[in-house]
Amino acid sequence: MLPTWLKEVLEILKPEIKTTIKIENLHVGDKIVNVNIDSNQTKNSLEYKPDQKFLTINLPALPPEIRKQIEPILKKAVDVEDQTLLEQSTEALLEDFVKKENLPENKETLNFISQNVPTDDVDIWRKALYIRGCFDELKETTDEDIKKAIGYKIKRSKHDVISAYGKKGNNIANLCTANYIKTWLMPLYKNSCELYPMDINKAKESFERIYQKITEELPFTIFVAGEMNKEKINAEAKNRLKYGMDFFNIHGIGRQNIKTITAFANDIKSGNNPIFEVEKIDEEGNVILLVVNVKIDKKL
């Protein structure tokens, strides 16, 4: 059923509908799912795409007396009838976010996050999951234009997370893309519960200490970004020796980062690195994980 505001708009637009898009009964049945307001001097006052049930109302091309009647109704639609009004690309982003968040494969992760991660970080992880969803989408498409659009979506979303949450936001976004919730955080939480089986609060405190360390300082993880070279990776890894870990995970996405990480691994394999040894390299598609061990005599 059409909302009241749209019924009023279609009533006022009846003569325009008849002359411009030549449809008699647009107000009847399920013929409109999206009304878009445009302001384009070169187009007609109305445009209707029946396959998408998409009606465009082009304000400057309307007869002035009709425009004068329509505009207050649009205001009323939002203020009184609780209609949300969004710019087209923002509506698409909202829809995309809700769709990805409700994917069945995210249910377990979201439950874990909402129950076990500090409250202040929950929204960061939700946004990180969205970014990961975009990466998954990227893997599944071969169309170059669509890939470009998704790439832009990822870049923009990451920028939004970093601008709101700084270094921790960046870390969480990367940790999430690298699936650390399932491979590290869930097992660590389980471990904490096993350490303190009779005291859930102590278990949660123990987990939270580890969680904060991982998300704020990345004690055993390096995410290689565009500007890093193998020397920088080595420096980052050396800097993390203070945490006393005996291994590091080095992650990279994209051809250039894969090249850089491979060069670092090759340096180690050829004996040029006194501190580390290669445990394994997993390369799949556009993603690489290099695991290096710290040589026994170099551990702190």
Partner: protein
């Protein structure tokens, strides 16, 4: 299916006008009747024209185009 009401980027200024808002010399969205009164976005910060991306009821919540605002809006809409 919920009806969607959207606007194109070209219609931004017209939409602001419908809601009695305008843009000042600094590019901030302000009240037409009182340009000293800046419009705040859903995140509580001033709203730049470039960032303006929508309006929701509830003392007219102005939406920005970033992921952070979208998540807030998604939560408001799902709690309806």
């Amino acid at each position: 299916m919920n009806l969607k009401l959207t606007f194109s980027k070209l219609a931004k200024k017209d939409i602001l006008n419908i809601f009695d808002k305008t843009v000042n010399a600094d590019g901030c969205v302000v009240e037409k009747k009182d340009p000293s009164q800046k419009v705040l976005a859903i995140d509580g910060n001033e709203l730049n024209y470039d960032e303006f991306a929508g309006i929701k009821k509830g003392s007219e919540i102005f939406i920005k185009s970033d992921l952070n605002s979208i998540v807030k809006l998604a939560d408001i809409l799902s709690s309806r």
